[in-house]
């Protein structure tokens, strides 16, 4: 049973996230889940409440770590960039990288590690090809928006990409895209997703490992 928007907001006092609900729909009940760069643990909290997942978060920031702990989320403090050798091959049902891809340096290495650790991998990221971003570039500035809230000089983002870029990345890396969903304002986008979509969500598996 998935939690409704109203139930979720009442229970957790935080805004319902459509992307969380989609991630939940991609997981089996009781799945063993690793959330890399789990932030304050909101996603794991949601997945725990809705699917009783056995979840672990990985987070390097002290304040976020404490927020996870306060919510009763298992949280491992480590820097993703330092490697994920602390996790065994294929030891999780699903490994998630939710809106963190754009902020990691060793992007390819981390996606490979996720595919090594999880049977499945979920990656979500803000689509840099979204028309509002393109418009800001055309008018001469780096995009600043709700999904890209930082200025160019203080952004943690280092590897912004478009949906086309990520598709090509998967194709060249022999990574199978099981499912792809694109959202704008919490609504699915099917028409010209690389232009019209704000948030890209991918469900991946590694064909080489299978």
């Amino acid at each position: 049973m998935t939690v409704t928007k109203q139930e979720f907001e009442k229970k957790f006092g935080q805004e319902f996230r459509h992307d969380f609900a989609i991630i939940a729909s991609w997981l089996p009940f009781g799945a063993k889940v690793l959330d890399l760069g789990c932030g304050d643990g909101a996603l794991l909290q949601y997945l725990k409440a809705s699917l009783e997942v056995r979840g672990y978060g990985v987070e390097k920031d002290d304040a976020n770590w404490l927020a996870c702990m306060s919510s009763g989320i298992n949280v491992i403090q480590m820097d993703l960039e330092a490697g994920l050798s602390g996790f065994e091959d294929q030891s999780f049902d699903t490994v998630i990288l939710s809106q963190t891809l754009q902020a990691v340096h060793n992007t390819e290495g981390i996606v490979r590690e996720m595919l090594r650790i999880g049977h499945e991998v979920i990656v979500t990221f803000p689509n840099f090809g979204y028309w509002r971003n393109r418009r800001q570039i055309l008018t001469g500035n780096m995009p600043v928006s709700k999904s890209l809230p930082h200025q160019w000089f203080n952004t943690p983002n280092v590897h912004l990409c478009t949906i086309n870029d990520f598709d090509q990345f998967c194709e060249s890396g022999n990574i199978t895209v099981k499912e792809r969903l694109v959202l704008t304002d919490n609504k699915p986008v099917t028409f010209m997703p690389n232009l019209m979509g704000n948030l890209a969500m991918y469900r991946l598996e590694n064909t080489q490992l299978k």
Partner: protein, 378 residues
């Protein structure tokens, strides 16, 4: 003056055990005492007990003071008390002096009933496993079937880990802080130098110095000075002393640098109050602890029967019990799909950081301990 959030004036108690205790080495202790302190109140269903395991030189005196004029509180007083991270309004906290210690529990300085003389060199060598077994007997004595948590730093963390391995049904949570699943060769090497300093002291007399009315002070002093170097980080020593001189260079071997007088002071203080035989045995227990040994070095296998939930904490500047060692424990727990959280605290103090009241470190412990469920109040 009333201290804020202190457990106040405390007094130690002694539990006597008549039944012989067979140790891991095969030696038998015919009877023994354990000295301990408690803070807070054991609740009606006895579900709120937390055991604090001490490290190399710790004692049962974990919190509070013995009198209002007592200069120093217990060694982890900054953590334990009403509304402190380990809240004595919620938990019943137990501090115990380990077997072989020199603060009241049976040790080398105690009288061997067979001879009427101090045990001295004849006192057996104890292991972490033996300590934990004796601690379960103390829990029995207090009527506690299952501990809410076992908390320990360094050698104390090894005891917390051992509790979860040997007595999984008797502990719900383990807080393993600045610890390791075993010692590295380098870490054991420091222990060996410390022991050699003591054993080669002419006043050691093979461990039976009590009969000679002397103590191997200079050996114990050097052992402690060495220990202190390894408990601090290079940066912490640099910040605390740097190359500061007490006065000017005098072209002598006196304590001219401030670091030297600090080490000498710490060494003298320790040698005046600690027992050399205890120090030898504590370091040996550290060396021998290796739960993975019986599993071909596979810690994941060694932790298979563990059911407790874990908080593992390390400190970035701790090079004697480095974060990498804590991560080995975390990995073995993850491999077994156990409930575990891990915090790597950014701290400058080296190994000693686990005793410091760093706000973030204490917030970590507070939030973990807050989540522990205990039954109704007594």
């Amino acid at each position: 003056m009333q201290e804020i959030n202190s457990v106040g004036i405390v007094a130690p108690q002694t539990a006597h055990f008549d039944a012989p205790l067979t140790l891991k080495s095969g030696a038998v202790l015919p009877q023994f005492d354990l000295v301990f302190e408690t803070y807070g109140t054991l609740n009606a269903d006895k579900s709120n007990a937390v055991l604090i395991c001490h490290a190399l030189s710790g004692t049962h005196h974990v919190a509070g003071r013995y009198s209002k004029d007592d200069k120093y509180p217990g060694w982890w007083d900054n953590l334990i008390g009403p509304n402190k991270p380990l809240d004595t309004n919620k938990f019943f906290v137990i501090g115990v002096n380990n077997l072989g210690g020199c603060h009241g529990s049976t040790g080398a300085v105690s009288i061997n009933p067979a001879t009427g003389q101090p045990w001295g060199s004849k006192f057996p060598i104890l292991t972490v496993e033996d300590w934990v077994t004796s601690q379960t007997l103390l829990a029995d004595y207090l009527g506690i079937q299952q501990l809410a948590a076992v908390v320990g730093g360094s050698l104390g963390g090894m005891q917390a880990l051992q509790w979860t391995i040997a007595y999984p049904e008797r502990v719900r949570h383990a807080l393993v802080i600045a610890s390791a699943p075993n010692l590295t060769a380098q870490n054991m090497a420091f222990n060996e130098v410390a022991r050699q300093a003591i054993i080669t002291d002419p006043e050691f007399h093979g461990g039976d110095y009590y009969a000679h009315g002397v103590v191997p002070k200079s050996g114990l002093r050097i052992a402690r000075m060495l220990g202190h170097i390894t408990y601090l980080s290079d940066d912490a020593m640099g910040a605390k002393f740097g190359r500061k001189l007490k006065d000017t260079i005098k072209y002598s071997f006196d304590a001219e640098f401030e670091m030297e007088s600090y080490l000498r002071y710490q060494g003298d203080k320790f040698a005046g109050e600690f027992d050399a035989n205890t120090y030898l045995r504590m370091t040996r227990a550290l060396d021998y602890f290796d739960p993975a040994l019986d599993f071909g070095g596979d810690l994941t296998c060694a932790l298979k029967k563990v059911t407790a939930q874990f908080l593992v904490v390390s400190f970035t500047s701790d090079w004697r019990f480095s974060p990498a060692r804590s991560r080995e424990i975390v990995k073995a727990l993850l491999d077994n799909e156990r409930t575990v959280s891990y915090a790597e605290v950014t701290a400058a103090h080296g190994h000693d950081a686990f005793l410091m009241p760093d706000p973030h470190y204490h917030a970590i412990l507070r939030s973990y301990l807050n989540n522990i469920q205990v039954g109704g109040k007594a």
